[in-house]
Structures are given as C-alpha cells and as structure tokens.
Symmetry: D2
Subunit: 409 residues, 4 copies
C-alpha cells in the first residue's frame, strides 16, 4: 500500500476508522480536549478505550460520558494495558495517546510499546535522557511508532519554513532565534494558587520548570525547521518570582550542527505576553519569521530584498504545507488543526504499517519521509538538552554538550 | 431536560451521537470539508446520510469514502429526502446541512423542512426574500429548526462583542462600520478562469455578486453584534474589472433600528487583502474593533480611555464567549472552530427539542436565548437587504427600505 | 538657475535663508508649532515677521518670544501686510504662511498674494469654491505661489505611491479607498468642552464639519496618489452625537477621471481610532496600502503575488520618495518631517522664481514638475468637493458633480 | 534662574539662540544631518562653528554651504579648538557636538572639555573605560556638561517607561529584555562593500562590533528605563558571516542592581529585521513593551489585567513624556524628534549653567533631575559593559563584573 502524502481530505476514510485509546486527559485537563479535537477532526480516529483520570471512579465515569463502551472505560492505565493487550483484530487499538502527568510518561509509554501498541506521548517524553534512550530502544525493538506531541510543528507555515530551508531558499542557515515567553506565572507569589505552584516544585517537574515546559518546544522547533540538532549550549536560569526553587525565566545560547548559531529566551513572567512562541531563521540568502499568535502568516525576506508575507493556504506552497492546510487562504487555522496534523500523519503511518516491511529505522515507524510527526528521538534530544541546560545554569553558563541519540544496539 | 448553555466540553456526549445528513459539499468543494470538521469537532454529530454531488455516481462514491453506509449514500437530494423521510427512531436524521449551489437552497431546504427535518442551510438562504419568507413560515409551521450558516458569528470574540453591547458597556450604539474585502478576483479578466467567472454571472448568482457573497456576511454581523436590524440603505455598486455584469465592489450606507448609523464596504478587487472581514462598533461609552484575520484579539476602548486588548480565552469574558472557546488563552482558534460553535449550539437545541413544548417562536426552534446560531429570519433579512441594495444601486444611491420579517400568519 | 530636485541635504543653504512670515499659529495653537518645526527643519527659512494671535498684545508678545524683531512683531495681519509690503530686497518676505481660523483664510491669502507675496495657506483654502477660484486667478495674475498645506502628501511613502502609479506599476487604477477616522469627538456631548463644540457650529466652520476637516485630506490624497480628479460623488452625512448640527461621520462614494471608483469614510466618533488616515489603491496589476500611523511602511501586492513591505529609506525607491527622506531605513520619520517636505519643495520653488520666466501655469508658480507641494487648484477641488458632498447629503445621496478648476481668463 | 522642565514650546527663545559647534558630520555622513535637524528643530541652537570633515578643504567648503561664517569654518578640530577657545562673550560656543569616527571621540571631547566647553559626544564616548573615566573626571573638574548621544532615550514613550518604573507602577522590576537586531550586514561577504567591512575591522572599531554598535544602545536603555545599572554579564559572541573577525550577533545575559534579570540579543544578520530595537520590562505589578519601529505606542499590562495601548501625546502621561512630545496624539513622531529632545534638555541645562552654583554632581552639569540627556557616566558604563562582554565571550560565557563609575577623587 502506497502512502500518499498529499493534501488531507478531511474525513476521507474509505476504510474503517482507527481505534484510539487515551490515557490521561481527564475532565478539567487542558490538553485532553485538544487531543480529542485533533484526533476527531479528520474522522480518522475513533475513541475506543480510555483510562482518563487518576481517580478510578472519575476515570470510568468520564470515559462513559465521552461515549467509550463500558468494558473499555478503565479505572487506571494498568488495567487498560492488560485488557487491551488481550484484544485483537478489528478491536485492537491502533494508537494510544499518553497525556498524563510528566513523571508517569515513561512507565506508561514503555508499557504500551512493549505490548505492541503505537504510542503518541505528550512532551516531555520522559524525565531523564536515560529513560528516553530506553523508550527509543523499545520502540525500535518492537517496530512500533513512538511519537511525541511537539504539536506546534503541525502548523502549516512551520512546515513551510522547514521545506524552504530544505529546498535551499535560505542558503546555508546561520542563525536561529526562538522565543517562548508568556506572563501567566507573574502572579505566582500567591501560595493559594496550586495551578501554578506545582510547576515550580522539583519533586513534580524535575530540575527545570520554564525551560522544560516551554523552552523545549522552542528548541524542538529550531531543530524541526533547520533539520539540524543542538550540539552544545550555555544557559542562564533565573527565578524572578521570590520563593521559586526552579527557573521561571531562562536564556540559552546554543550551537547546532553545521555551525548554526542559536538564541533562545523563554519566560513565564513576561507580563503582557500571552503566548510568545516565535521563530526566526536567517541564512546566507534570506530570513524567515513566524509567530504562533499570528500563525497564518510567514514573513520571508531574501537578502537584499523586501519582506514578503506568505499566507497559509496560498497557491504554490510546499507539499508539506499544502497537505497540512484544510481551509481557504485568508481564514484562520489555529492550534487544534496544527495538532490534528500530527494525528493525520500518524493515521497515514499506521495505515501503512500493515504493508510496510521490517526495514524501517528509528522510533517513528514510518518508511515515509513526508510524515512529519515528532518521534521519540526528538523527545530524547529535548530531554537531553534540558539536562544540559540545567548543568550549564548550575555551572554559571559553562557550555555543555548535548548528547546525540544512542545508536541502535 | 434542561439545556445548560455552559462551556462546551468537547466530545462530551453521554447520550448517543446525533445523526447528520449532508446535501452538497462534494469532493473539491471548499465549504464541504469545513462543515464536516465543524460537525465532527465536538463529537456530537455522526455523518449518517448524504447526497454530496450533482453527479449521482460521484455523489455515492464520495459518500462511501466518507464512511456513509451504502444504503444512505444517495445519488441526489430527492432520493435522499424520500428515503430518509421513511426512517424513524434512532435512525432518523437530526439535522440536514444544505451546502449546494445557491439557487438550489430553497427547494432543498423547503423539502427537508416540510418532511420534518431540522436544516442548516448555507447562505444565502434563498434567491429572493419571498422564498425566504416562505421558508420561515414552513419552519414555524413544522416546528423545525431552520438555521443559516453565517458562521463568522461563531467566533468567540464576535459573541463577546454582542454580549458587551447587550450588557450596555458601549452605552447607546451610534455607529457600526463593517468591511469584507479581498483581492482574489482582481485577475478576473482571464476568460479561462471559471472559478471566478460564474460568480459574476447573473444567471447563476442573481442580481448581486460581491455584496451578496461577502457583504451579506458583514451586514449580518452588524445586526448580530448590535442586536438591531437594518431598516434602510443606500448603495453604490461598481464593476471594477471590465466585462463584469455584476458588481465586484460595493459601498453601502445604512441605518439600523434605534438610529444606528452604518457603513459597509466590500470588494473582491482590493489587491493585497486576503480576507478583510472587520467590525467596528462605536457607542456613547466606548468602541470595539475586531478583524477576522486576527480573530483571537478584540480591541476595546472606553470613551476617554485607552485601547485594551481582550484575548479569547481570558478569564472574565461573557458566558457566550466562554462557551464558544475550546483552548487556552494565547493559542489561536480559527474558522473551523467558529463554525463548530454553530453546530454545537444546534446540538443543544436539537437535544432540547424532544422535551420542549410547542411554545417556541421563530424558525430557530430554540426556547433558549443563549443559543446563538443564525436562523431563517437572519437569512430573510440579508436576502431582503441584498434586494434593497440592488434597487438602490440601480436608482443611483436612492435610499431603500429593507422589509422586516413577515409576521406569522 | 537650474533647480535640482534631488535628495534634500538638510540644512544645506549656500545662499542666505529665506525670509518667512507667519500669520496665526499663536501660543496654544496646535498647528503653529508644526509649521515652525517644518519651516526650520532644513534651515531654509528664518522666521522674520509675524501676526500670530487674534489679540494684538498676545500676538506681539509671542512674536518677540519666538525671536522675531520688534518692528516685525505685528498686532494684526493688516498691519503686517501693510508694513511688509513696503520692505524690499533682502528683507522682503519670501513666503507667508496663513494658519488662522478657516473663515479668515480667504481675505488674508488674497491680501498677501495681491501684494506680491508667495503664500502657504492652511486648509481649507477658503470657505467657498468661488473664493477659491478667486484665489487661483489672483495667484496666476501675480505670478505668485499659492500653496495649500495638505501636509500628509509630504510623507515619503505617499509620494512613493504616487510615483508607482505614474510609473504604471499598478496598471490602470480601478479603485481608491480612503479613510480618516478617529474617536476624539465621541465625548462631545459635554457642553463645557469648547475645544470640540466649535467644530460643529455652522457659523464657524460652514456646512460641513468632519468631512471638511478630515475627509478633505483623504480626498486630496486620493487625487494626489492617482493623479486623477474627483468628478462626482454621493454622500451620507450623520450626526452621531446628539445635538450636533453638522456631521461627525460621513461616507462618500465617488468617481474619478478615467472611471476610477472611490470610497471614503471619515468619522470623529470611531472610539479607539487615534488617527486612522489610510489609503488603498488597487489597479489591474497590483495594489498598495498605507496607514499614517505606520507611515514608514508601504504594503505592495502585485496581482497574483504576495504582499511585500516597502520601507521608507530603502534603496531603489522613486526619486520623489528618496528626496523626501532624511534618515536611515528602519528609523521612524513622522509628521513634522512630512510637513517639512512641503516647505522644502517650496524653498526650491521660491529660489527658482527669480530666474524663472513668466511662462509658468497654475498657482503653483513652479516650472518644475518634481515639486510636489499642493497648490490653490488642489484647495479649490477639495472645497468644491465639500460643497458637492453637502448638497448630496441633503439630497439623500443623489450624485453631484464636482466642478473642475476654472480656466484662466 | 529656575529651569522649568515643562512642555517644550517649539521655537520659544525669548533670549538669544545658543551657539553650537559641530565636529564631524560631514557631507554624506548619516548621523550629521540628524544632529543638525535635532539641534535646529526647536530653534534653540544656531550652528556657529564647525570642523566637519577629515579633509580640510571639504570641511571648510561644507561648513560654508551650511551657512557657517568663513572665519569659523575650520579645516580640523584642533584649529577649531584653538580659535574657539579664544572667543568670549556672546560669541562663545555654548555646546560642541562630536560626531567623528569612534577612535577620535576621546581626544576631541577631552580637548573641548578642558577648554571649558560643554560637549555632546556621539556614542561610544571612548574606546576604553579608562578613557571614559578620564572624561568624567575632566568634566567634573571643569564643571562642564559632557553628554553622550544615546538618542533613543529621547523618545517620549521611552521616557514614559522610565517614569512609570519610578512611580512604582510596575512594583519591583524583575526582568528586562532588550533587543537591537537588524539584517543589514547579512550580505557582508561582499569584499567590495566598504560601508560594512570596516565595522568588523578590530583596528577601526576595537574588540566588539555589533554589541558595541547596537547592543550598547539596548543596554543603555535597560538602565535608562529601570534606573538600575548592569552589575555583571555573560556573553556569547558569534561571527555568522564567514571571514569576520568580530561578532555580528551576540546574546548577553546580565544582572542589574536590585537583582533585576536581564536578557539582550543583538544581531546584524537577522534578515528581514530593519531596526529591531525593542524593550520589555516586567515587574511584580505589570509589564511594559515598546518597539522603536512603532515608537508612538507603548504596551502596558498590569499583572492579572489586559494589555492596554498608551499613545504618545495622550492626556495624563508623565511630565517627562509630555515635555518630550511636540505634536497631537495619533500623529507619528520619529527619531529626529527623539534626538531633538536630547538637545532640548541640553538647552535648558546650558541656560541654567550661568546661574547654577558649584554644587552640581556628575558630568551632566545639571542641577535638575528632570533633564534626561545621557551623560559621560552612561558612556562609561556602556564602554565598561562592552569590555566585560568581550572578556566573557572570550572566556566562553564566564560571568564578568561590570565596574562602577569611579568615585570623584
């Protein structure tokens, strides 16, 4: 079966829907509804099983309300894993999404991969790079997909940036500047605000708060659009709000393969910023600029020329961008549709698994270069970069290497 | 059953999904995929039947590819109407969307309403105001919902504008300025571009092109946000591209109930504009400004104060806006989610129909003031306004009355 | 002497400064300081005489404080005219600026022209088109310059728009859309706010308020950038704030030479707008867009292409734009520098008068097509257009012709 | 004599103009015309003497063309210093501006200060912090003003930011983020472009290129708006264009007094950026954001509130901002007017010198806290910070202290 990576026809599924399982994303979760919208948008996935909440009763009750059959509405992920592993044929889950608290990503993802399921794990993939390396090895060993939800990479114009770099329109890339700064934790001194406090508690999030939470997205995008990995970095972490053990603001200088210079700033106390996710890439022939808050425009300037506005949906964009666009130019496509592009690519990959041979490499499980969902190797790299940034910040900005993805054994 | 018009929990359907039928929206249609995304997004509707294309073979084939069962994949809408009218109980269609060429809206909508189905019709509801009056009467007589897809009214911040006006934050509204201008028909002298040419062919679209196509959206929004109807208008139509029989640019001065002054400009030859749908409302206490291309920000300025930026998803917005928001502040929600809000409100209305008594008024079929989908009365008003604009333009800008919705007989 | 209309070298005056006289612009005046900055900026003009205030004592006192010599610090313009007419040689005033209340423009401008002075009159040139025709005839008869301060035409990128149209980059111009809307008179019901009230008093401003005040600037720019005159128009005037005799909001449809379609909206009650002066020009080959509040960027979109950003000061702009730019690209040039471009062109014209023969035409007094300051003919046209708009509004939008500039007798 | 720091009345000089001397700024210089416009704008200064060019003949010829009297049109600054030192009384120069190549700032500034002249020196004040310390001592010893032209601090809304911080509206400042990035040196591999090449030649500019040129402005503004000095920093320098000895891109983390966290990015190869000078200041009560390319708007967001737009020229701004504004709200004021504010404050300070006692402190020579022109101490600090950044970059990001201004001996 040839996987055609052409424009997604929304809702076109001549074959049966894929069975989708969800772990986490219970009632009140912020990311759960986005996964459900994204999985549902193109009609490719049908929510078949779930363990949605840490509380078993809530978990089952919410699953029922979401239309999951009673026997597949689980109280916890261990039950789900056991019961779903026993199912086969048309009932078998095609994909399991893991959207639980960070520290649980590793055991859950590991469990489902080992049982032969494809997994889409929320970021961070794991709490340590050792765990991430483990996941990669398991995914490879079982020939399963382990995707990681760096969902901003699904925006059509982010994909256009990547395509333009690959096509050589920028020439050699010299400089990547990324930002992900907001001000939503500026009022954090309130001890009664548990929604914010846990984010700065090392026992819950590890050794990094804002960099791991937001900076890692920005760093992933730097690699996604340039196709180059971060090799080393120097970090400055700051806790601007008194009393925080972990950083709420970070600045990181980095170097990528082929000598690309990198700059990153991320903050949770930049009052007045809502969601300042911004990418700038400059090369010897031109530069690109994109902001998530105005996601449907991409600014391109050839060296010596003028800034021009590339509109999502316009004619003549790359196949990658075109495939990721669903509506006419001039209309806004937002974040749920970006996330849906991750699911759409996963659907293509999953449908091709049956016929694909064993020759595939990496945890992506995809023989098709055109499928752009981030995979466990990307998850490893950002976890490893976070570890390096923590070390660097502790060592007053000393440059630290970011390890590469371990070779398959 | 009490219909709670609170924040939509995406995918929350403790009861069975609603059965959805689609007429039109065949392969290659621009609006079809948006309806499918919008209907599917919250998991409320399941596509159960369709007559999707003017060509019976294509119609059936595409329906199958969309996962419609073979016996409900129809070759034309007449067959669909006949066969679906015979179904009952759980199989019965809860909603039929009509997304066919404009001239067919009337017979199809009429047919399904008379057979007792709820209908969501693309705009324009009909080609004449007499037909629209007819539709209203039929919907009322059968107690069915006849909604019209002025989908831009589903944007959360458009609903916030409406709520702020209703709450009196602007004081008496003085002035409404609306625009819907693009430049996509500027290269229209190409006789080989059929995608554009038919839009200026009176036999296909009636007596108005750009005003009926885009201006009508802008005019609907003027009424939607102010809660006032257009009473009279003066229009200037122009055919900027040589050879066009109908207008590709129009300017309309109007007056609304309570003396609100209105200004409208719509163009298809404003080169450089992608989708310039803009609303400004000024009142004695403050003014609002919103643009579709930056749909997640609303600019509010109290008289004597400063412009402030209202963000979609922020705390403290009206119940109407909050209910229409699905993701966190700072992230972009786009047009498919706006359209999905029309479907979401329809789902609530349809679920309440069973228990609602006969006391409802209008074609909306809803006893609940909080449900904001546009209805046949709105469709009538824009068709009538288009007729008045055509008359005024022919009479060199003479002011023409816009008739009110006919009273129930 | 050849006048080279090349890039203005600020402050380059190998010859003596020009003698400048000012009528009006007294202490507290808004426009007076701008004239003084604009005249002074390039070092071309030296303020030599003035009658600055309606109160003779204030007039003389303020003149002294501005460094005017005591014998040329006048109590009223009649004294100034009499005394300055008697001066000759190096002392003679080279230019008199008239910045008094509107109703006095005619007699003062007339007086100085008849005495052989060059005049720069604030807009409106006169209160009636008959008076304006008179002024034109007098300027022509005396071979003097009568310029009118439509100062926004001095912005470098407005001049670039004009140059691009003339060079044919837009092809045939089809559509001009202009706006000049603010919200600064929205709180106008306050009877104690004399700063606003007089603007709506017919005895002080004539038959039009907002259109004459702001709309006229927008209309002038429509002609300035297209090089075409307004031939006829249809107007809708509205008094949004209760109690106002004159319009505070106006919409005008118009047609220009060569069939260009025009749209204009101007408002003083658009709360949240500071100074919404916007120009859009669309032609068969492309479109331009410019906003005064972001005056250093011009948006250009070729038909079928992408929007590109033209930056003031970038290389390769027209000679007209380059000559009007003083600082490096990326820095902001604002309104005082735009006004200074009017003075800079006037300086060139005045210096060329000595050597120019009698063959010049029009009130501009300039043999050089490259000098772009607006002249009495422009003043006539906007006054005549205002009269036509007033008639049209009274006749409910009936189309009215705008008379052309009278031929020289 | 009390210096009233109220709104500048343009051109109001009841006393004689101040005598102004200019060193550098010859024909073709970029910054020379800006100084002449800025000094001339308010009518306070009259260009009385100059040594404008490295070539004596060009120097004298250009001075004559600018209207300088022949005997004060000098061939070099040494002649000018000698001759002008001999003048006294009304002829005496009140201010000398130094706008020569960087390496000459020190001897020229030193020379004029020692001769008892007030000096405004272009940035950088000197090439080393030792020289800068020297200048401070000389200025103090002679009781003369030594100002440094960090002209961006003259923007009214930059002054508003400073005032808001001082008034406590932000509470304790936590974070300052500054950028000054452009792409104008991206095509720098062209060996034939001398306009760019010298900027990366250590013999001409010292040990830093982009940081010293642009980053220093950003760093100065960080101190200007917060009122706090930079204490230590960690820098990463990169030469993105092959062949450059010095950095064309730099990232600097810093800490200020009172623990303020600082982030700075500056680049000359960020293709598509014209003049990305941006300031963000976040405090415990709110945050501010300003961009030079949209200099007339300031974005203010209280913690927990909405972003509001502060307009230059609106009512109710601080006295500092109001005094620095010349035209009505909604109109653009640009860079030349910002620079003019430095001159305007200098004029006030100079006029007060006569009557001021010996009690003044620092090189500013001003007893008036309200006068905001940057002084030699600011020059010292940025030179010292540049030295620290060079050291840090060489030591791979090690944190380096920035020395404080030396105490008066």
């Amino acid at each position: 079966m040839a996987v055609r990576a052409s424009r997604m026809v929304s809702g076109l599924s001549s074959v049966a829907r894929l069975n989708w399982g969800l772990v986490g994303g219970g009632e009140g979760s912020q990311i759960g509804p986005v996964h459900r919208m994204a999985a549902r948008l193109d009609g490719e996935f049908s929510l078949a099983a779930g363990a949605l909440d840490a509380c078993p009763e809530s978990s089952r009750a919410f699953a029922l309300r979401l239309g999951i059959a009673e026997e597949r509405a689980y109280g916890d992920w261990q039950d789900m894993l056991a019961a779903e592993s026993a199912r086969d044929g048309d009932d078998r889950l095609d994909l399991v999404t893991v959207a639980t608290p960070n520290a649980t990503h590793y055991p859950i993802t590991r469990g489902f991969l080992e049982a032969g399921f494809n997994v889409l794990c929320e970021k961070p993939l794991t709490m340590t790079s050792d765990e991430a390396a483990d996941i990669i090895a398991i995914a490879r060993a079982h020939g399963r997909i382990c995707a990681v939800n760096f969902g901003y990479s699904g925006y059509p114009l982010v994909r256009e940036m990547r395509a333009m770099v690959r096509q050589g329109q920028l020439g050699r890339v010299r400089l990547v500047v990324v930002e992900f700064s907001h001000g939503h934790h500026a009022a954090g001194d309130d001890p009664d605000n548990p929604r914010i406090r846990w984010r700065y508690d090392p026992r819950q999030v590890g050794n990094s708060a804002q960099f791991a939470d937001c900076g890692s997205h920005a760093l992933h995008l730097a690699s996604f659009v340039t196709g180059r990995q971060v090799e080393r970095l120097s970090a400055d972490f700051a806790s601007c709000v008194p009393g925080r053990e972990l950083e709420d603001d970070a600045m990181v200088a980095f170097r990528m393969q082929d000598g690309i210079v990198g700059r990153l700033w991320t903050s949770a106390v930049a009052v007045g910023r809502q969601h300042g996710l911004t990418l700038q890439v400059s090369g010897e022939r031109g530069g690109l600029r994109w902001q998530q808050e105005q996601a449907n425009q991409l600014y391109w300037c050839p060296v010596g020329g003028r800034v021009t506005v590339i509109e999502r949906g316009e004619a003549g964009l790359s196949a990658d961008a075109e495939r990721a666009s669903r509506i006419a130019v001039g209309h806004v496509e937002g974040m749920p549709l970006a996330f849906a592009n991750v699911y759409a690519d996963l659907a293509l990959a999953i449908r091709s698994q049956a016929c694909a041979g064993a020759e595939q490499e990496g945890s992506g499980g995809s023989p098709d270069d055109a499928l752009l969902y981030p995979i466990a190797e990307d998850g490893f790299r950002t976890v490893a970069a976070t570890e390096a940034a923590v070390r660097s910040a502790k060592r007053h900005g000393a440059w630290e290497d970011v390890p590469t993805v371990p070779d398959p054994i």
